[in-house]
């Protein structure tokens, strides 16, 4: 069995893993990327539409163009990577076991680990659509792979359930292939992906977006023959009598993404309620020296934001190796960050109090859209320690607030802080 000792092992060679590995390598540390697919690049490779790179490179690129720049850089820097290599275990002692078909079982003993495994799509069973189990039901991402990578069409006429970004992008892609997209059906009263995708992928092609509806039955025993959609009320209960039949041979699901954290769990790291690991503001999990970034931590709107987060994880891993690894250090106090009114989750979950001069990036999503708001941070005594006005919020857009911890006035006994997004009091509305 081959054993490798490296400074940093990066699990996943997609947009997060590559960006993190590049930062680490530039600091002259040994880095090893473990990628389970046959090439580097991850899911971005099948995202052949444009809209990538506006933050990172200040120009608009397709997914493959965007990720190729990172791949090229990794190759120029001579970063070691292993393809077709599946990590099967991370022990609580941070030893990684992986397999591939060239070396068999390999053992990696890193000083630090960066988790960058990405996410997976929600599936039919998880959302419990009744009906038959015919052929012709795919997640949007799976259809994207068939069309963009393998070169095959999974159907001719489609209904897409869920207005997630991949679903809307596939609606346009399939229209280009001469397929018919009958409707995008969304259970919420608003679109769940980015507004720009609603405009550029649906409205520009006259594809109907039907909100407050969901698929309540799948027809067809062998192959999908159609779906029944029904209106839902505020509690998502279907409205009897609102059923409509739509004929189609394929149902695509774009109903959300879930961080892929089986290995994280196995390593013994705590997982937060939203699925990603619990991290502090250094993106360090509850296990010392294991960091997480990209969609394994939280599902991002844009790959550019994944790259940015991954770079931070890389820098923090470097800092860990230089200043904490194998050294005695005082375990700092931590403050918990909680989701308050209209906030579905907050990252980081913990604020590390070792260095109060640091900038912290808070990212979070709202549960429902709203206008004229106030974003407030409160401590456990309900004192407002920070506030900011905001005109409009929607769940599909991740909110990011960068703050220097010195801006907060922490009471010495602060245990937790809460972020809430609330309607602005009348006086403030006047100012708009």
């Amino acid at each position: 069995m081959n054993t490798y000792e490296v400074d940093v092992a990066v699990i996943g060679g997609g947009s997060a893993g590559l960006a993190a590995a590049i930062v680490v390598k530039k600091a002259n540390l040994d880095v090893l990327i473990l990628e389970r697919d046959k090439e580097l690049g991850g899911i971005t490779l099948q995202c052949i539409h444009n809209g990538f790179g506006l933050h990172e490179f200040k120009e608009e690129l397709t997914g493959p163009e965007y990720i190729q720049r990172f791949i090229n850089q990794a190759i120029e820097l001579d970063i070691t990577y292993k393809l077709d290599t599946m990590v099967v275990e991370i022990t609580t002692e941070k030893v990684i076991y992986a397999v591939n078909n060239k070396e068999g079982l390999i053992e990696i003993k890193p000083k630090a680990i960066i988790l960058a495994m990405g996410c997976r799509e929600r599936t039919r069973g998880a959302i419990n659509i009744p009906g038959f189990r015919p052929s012709g039901i795919y997640t949007a991402g799976q259809a994207q792979r068939f069309v963009n990578i393998e070169g095959y069409l999974p159907g001719r006429s489609y209904v897409i359930l869920g207005s997630g970004d991949i679903g809307m992008i596939m609606a346009r892609r399939l229209t280009w292939e001469g397929c018919q997209v009958k409707a995008v059906v969304e259970i919420q009263p608003y679109v769940s992906g980015l507004i720009r995708n609603q405009v550029q992928c649906l409205e520009d092609y006259g594809i109907p977006l039907i909100t407050s509806y969901t698929v309540t039955k799948i027809h067809g025993k062998d192959r999908v023959k159609g779906v029944t959609i029904s209106k839902v009320d505020r509690n998502f209960d279907r409205v009897i009598g609102s059923e409509k039949f739509i004929e189609c041979d394929t149902l695509l699901l774009s109903v959300g993404l879930i961080p892929e954290n089986e290995l994280t769990r196995e390593a013994g790291a705590k997982i937060s309620e939203m699925g990603g690991p619990v991290v502090d503001n250094n993106l360090e999990t509850t296990i010392e020296g294991i960091f997480a970034c990209g969609n394994v931590l939280q599902v991002h709107d844009l790959v550019d934001l994944v790259s940015a987060e991954a770079k931070r994880a890389g820098l923090n891993a470097i800092d860990y190796i230089n200043n904490r690894y194998d050294k005695k250090f005082e375990v700092p106090g931590k403050i918990k960050c909680k989701a308050g009114e209209n906030v579905s989750y907050v990252k980081p979950d913990l604020i590390n109090l070792s260095d109060l001069s640091k900038d912290v990036i808070f990212s979070f999503r709202v549960k429902r859209p709203d206008r004229r708001l106030l974003i407030q941070f409160k401590d456990n005594k309900n004192h407002i320690i920070y506030k900011k006005k905001r005109r409009y919020v929607i769940p599909s857009e991740m909110l990011e607030i960068k703050l220097n911890l010195s801006e907060f006035k922490f009471a010495p006994d602060t245990k937790n802080i809460k972020i809430e997004v609330i309607p602005r009091p009348e006086a403030l509305i006047e100012e708009d």
Binding site: M1, R36, D84, M86, V88, Y97, V99, N100, N101, K102, E103, G104, L105, R120, E121, T123, R124, G125, A126, N128, P130, G131, F132, R133, P134, S135, T139, G141, Q142, R145, F146, V147, I149, E150, G151, Y152, L153, P154, G155, R156, E177, G178, T216, K217, I218, K221, D222, R223, R238, D249, I258, E262, R265
Partner: protein
Amino acid sequence: MIYDVIIIGAGVTGCSIARTLSKYDLSICVLEKEAEIASGTTKANSGVVHAGYAAQREYIKRHLCIKGNKLYSQAAEELNFPFKRIGSFVVAVEDEQIKGLEEERKKGAEDGIPGLELILDKKRIQEMEPNLTEDVVGVLHASTAGIVSPYELTFALADNAATNGVKFFRNQEVVKIKHQDYVFTVRTYQGEFQARNLINAAGLYASRISRMLGLDYFRLMPRKGEYILFDRNAIHLNKILFPIPTKISKGILVCPTLHGNTFAGPNAQNLNDPEDLSTTTAGLKEILVGGRKLVPNLPLRSAIRNFAGLRAVPDTYDFIIDNTDIYGFINVAGILSPGLTATFAIADKIVEFLELLGEELTLKEDYNPYRPKPERFKDFNRQELDKKIQEDPRWGRIICRCETIPEKEIINAIHAPVGSTTVDGIKFRCRPGMGRCQGGFCRPRVIEILSRELNIPYEDITKRGEDTNILVGETKDLALKNLARGVDNE
């Protein structure tokens, strides 16, 4: 050729009969309507091996169940299918239900069921099953009850039967049967098969097969049961949990599976359509409500799949296992619960019937009762794994990430004695697509391997046979590329 025996139907009943008969010097073939074996009732049922106290004494199914349960230990050893005697609870939540449970226990013990115990000590019950409802007042514990993977059992039976000379023909829907000069001629859409004895194990279609020979003496009503399957980390149960049974069914149970998942179900809906495998909103709600009566913290968030199975309910409410008036024609119909438990006892019964019919049953000298355990990546320790990959690198290429299934396991499933040819077949044989992502990542790769190993074009690979195609054609890009390639070749 004229076979000694034709078996119609490759579900657990047909395959179990085939395997038992393969001990003897007989030529046997099995005809299956679907593209894969274990495609009907076998594929979607609770997978419970019952202790045998539940059915009434006047029913043959009670006696075959009690006998069948005992036969499982040896069979599991020979055939290496997943099976565990974890024990079951029938859960009483009201004091007046206790009396009924005690009666069941007494009768069961009299009929030779070991390990039945009425437990009234609430603390002990909760130690044995911490997730059980607080409302419990007592349980009937049956220690011999167990869980089995019904389709894996069926693959094991079929593979072992095939190794012992039984021929399996799939995609053979029977359309007509003739009986002349003591020979049955069975016509399917694909061809014709002849035998001296015909065993009807056609599940939901058994009454149709029987009518083809003019025997119209029983009715089968399809009864649908829906299930919800929960993710592996969702909850962990020690016991099979039954509610107090009603007159028509054992009720909605909550049960662990051998792969670490948990399921709740089935409900019971009587239907006319023997193909209606649809799940319904009302049904799924019923299961959740029913399941939560036993396990209040069943997490709907962790549901990964719902599915429905059909069982054939005979109008007699008992198994129909008959040496019929037509010489050599045996009906094995209406095998609903506890048919899975009884399966080995049913097969032994068929041996008796063939003896009655005057067949000379001589044991084959080279009969091999053993089926080796399918090699699984997950069963290897680190050293074994490393060795395996050195021997065959395909052990090191992981296709299914959720379940950690390497290419080699899929290839083994394709080239098994009664190997799989479809994506669903592969899924049931070795689990790619069974996990959290339900095939999102691995399906294109499974198609690629099937296409390569079976030499079938990529786009012709189906989900589970005819009319269940996965892809409908090429994209413009690929079509152009192929066109260009074609031009180059000329």
